[in-house]
C-alpha cells in the first residue's frame, strides 16, 4: 500500500492488528460477527497516506457490502423468525395432531357401526346377508385411509420440526438483533374486531367447549 506509515510491520499491518488476527486464528471456534467487524474496522482505520483509486474503490465496495448486510439483517429481523418457532410451527403441529386424532375417532366409530351391522347378518335372509357383508367389506377396505393419512401427516410434522430446527439456528445466529428489533419496532397489527374476532375455529380438543358447557352457558341467560 502506498504511503504506508513506519508504525506498520513487515506484513503491512500495525502490530496490534497483527496480534489480534493471530489471536483469532489461534482460537478453535469460528470468529463471531463482532470479531470480524472489529478487525475490519481496525484494518480500515489503519489505512493511511495516499490511497490509490483502486484502494478507494475497494473501500467503497466494502462499505457498500457492509450496508447491504446490515439492511438484509434488518429485513430478516423484521420477518420475526422467532415467531415462526414460538408460535406458528407449534400451532400447525397441534392442528395436524388434532386431524390425526379426529380421523382416528371417526374411523373407529365407523368400524364399530359396521361390526354391529355384520353381527346382524345371521338374522338376515342369505341373499341380503351377502349383500350387507359385501358392503361392510367395502367400508373396511376404505377405512385404510386413516392409516395412510396418519402416516402422511406424521411425515409433514417431521418436516415442520426440521424447519423449526433450522429457523431456531438462524434466530440464534442473530444473537440479540431480533430482540432489539422487537423493542424498537413494536407490532402495529390491528387486533381483530367485530365478527372477524369471532373466526378462530375449529378449536383444538383441549380448547374446545363441550356441548354440556355450551348448554349450561345458554341456560345461564334464561
Amino acid at each position: 500500500m502506498k504511503g504506508k506509515s513506519a508504525k506498520h510491520g513487515d506484513s503491512g499491518m500495525p502490530p496490534e492488528l497483527n496480534a489480534r488476527l493471530s489471536e483469532l486464528q489461534a482460537q478453535s471456534r469460528s470468529p463471531s460477527r463482532e470479531d470480524v467487524a472489529e478487525v475490519v474496522g481496525e484494518m480500515l482505520q489503519s489505512l493511511e497516506g495516499d490511497l490509490s483509486e483502486v484502494n478507494l474503490k475497494v473501500y467503497a465496495e466494502l462499505e457498500g457490502l457492509a450496508k447491504y448486510i446490515l439492511s438484509a439483517k434488518r429485513e430478516i429481523a423484521a420477518l420475526r423468525p422467532d415467531d415462526i418457532t414460538s408460535e406458528h410451527l407449534p400451532k400447525a403441529t397441534d392442528e395436524l395432531d388434532a386431524i390425526v386424532g379426529s380421523t382416528e375417532d371417526a374411523t373407529n366409530s365407523i368400524l364399530q357401526a359396521m361390526e354391529l351391522l355384520e353381527g346382524l347378518t345371521p338374522q338376515m335372509p342369505a341373499e341380503v346377508a351377502e349383500q350387507v357383508t359385501n358392503a361392510v367389506t367395502q367400508v373396511y377396505e376404505n377405512c385404510n385411509f386413516q392409516d395412510i393419512t396418519g402416516q402422511r401427516i406424521t411425515k409433514v410434522v417431521k418436516t415442520l420440526k426440521h424447519i423449526e430446527d433450522r429457523v431456531e439456528k438462524l434466530v440464534a445466529a442473530f444473537g440479540d438483533e431480533i430482540q432489539k428489533y422487537r423493542e424498537t419496532h413494536p407490532r402495529d397489527e390491528q387486533p381483530k374486531a367485530g365478527d372477524e374476532k369471532l373466526l378462530n375455529g375449529p378449536q383444538l380438543p383441549d380448547e374446545a367447549s363441550k356441548q354440556a358447557e355450551i348448554d349450561a352457558l345458554l341456560a345461564s341467560f334464561d
Partner: protein
C-alpha cells in the same frame, strides 16, 4: 394340504384402526384366532410365548420396525420358518427387495382390499 382355520395369527401395526380392519377381514375369511401387537418388540415377545401359524406385520413402527421383526424371526431357530406377510405403505422397490432378502413370504401394499388379502393368504398358506 388343507389350511388350519383355527391357527393363531398375529397382526402387528401401530395404528389401532388398521389392526381392527385386518382382524375383521380375517374374521370374514374364517380366521377367528387373531392376536394383536403394536410394534415389533411386543410381537416378538408374543411369538415366543405362544404358537402362531402366521404373522401379518406393518413396516413403519417404533421402537422395533416390521423389517427388524422379520429379521429377528428368521434368526430365531424356533420361529425361522413362520410364514410372514408384510402389509405396509412402503411401496418402493428397494423396500420390497429388502423384505424379500430378509425372508418375507409375501408383501401387501396399503391401501389394500379384501381380495388382495385373500390372494396373498392363499399364496402363503395354500388355498382355503
Amino acid at each position: 394340504m388343507s389350511v388350519d382355520m383355527n391357527m393363531n395369527i398375529l397382526i402387528v401395526d401401530d395404528y389401532k384402526t388398521m389392526l381392527r380392519i385386518i382382524r375383521n377381514l380375517l374374521k370374514q375369511l374364517g380366521f377367528n384366532n387373531v392376536d394383536e401387537a403394536t410394534d415389533g418388540s411386543m410381537a416378538l415377545q408374543k411369538l415366543r410365548d405362544k404358537d402362531y401359524g402366521l404373522v401379518i406385520s406393518d413396516w413403519n413402527m417404533e421402537p422395533m420396525t416390521g423389517i427388524q421383526l422379520l429379521r429377528e424371526v428368521r434368526a430365531d431357530s424356533k420361529l425361522k420358518n413362520l410364514p410372514f406377510i408384510m402389509i405396509t405403505a412402503e411401496s418402493k422397490t428397494e423396500n420390497v427387495v429388502a423384505a424379500k432378502e430378509a425372508g418375507v413370504n409375501n408383501y401387501i401394499v396399503k391401501p389394500f382390499n379384501a381380495a388382495t388379502l385373500k390372494t396373498k393368504l392363499s399364496s402363503v398358506l395354500g388355498n382355503f
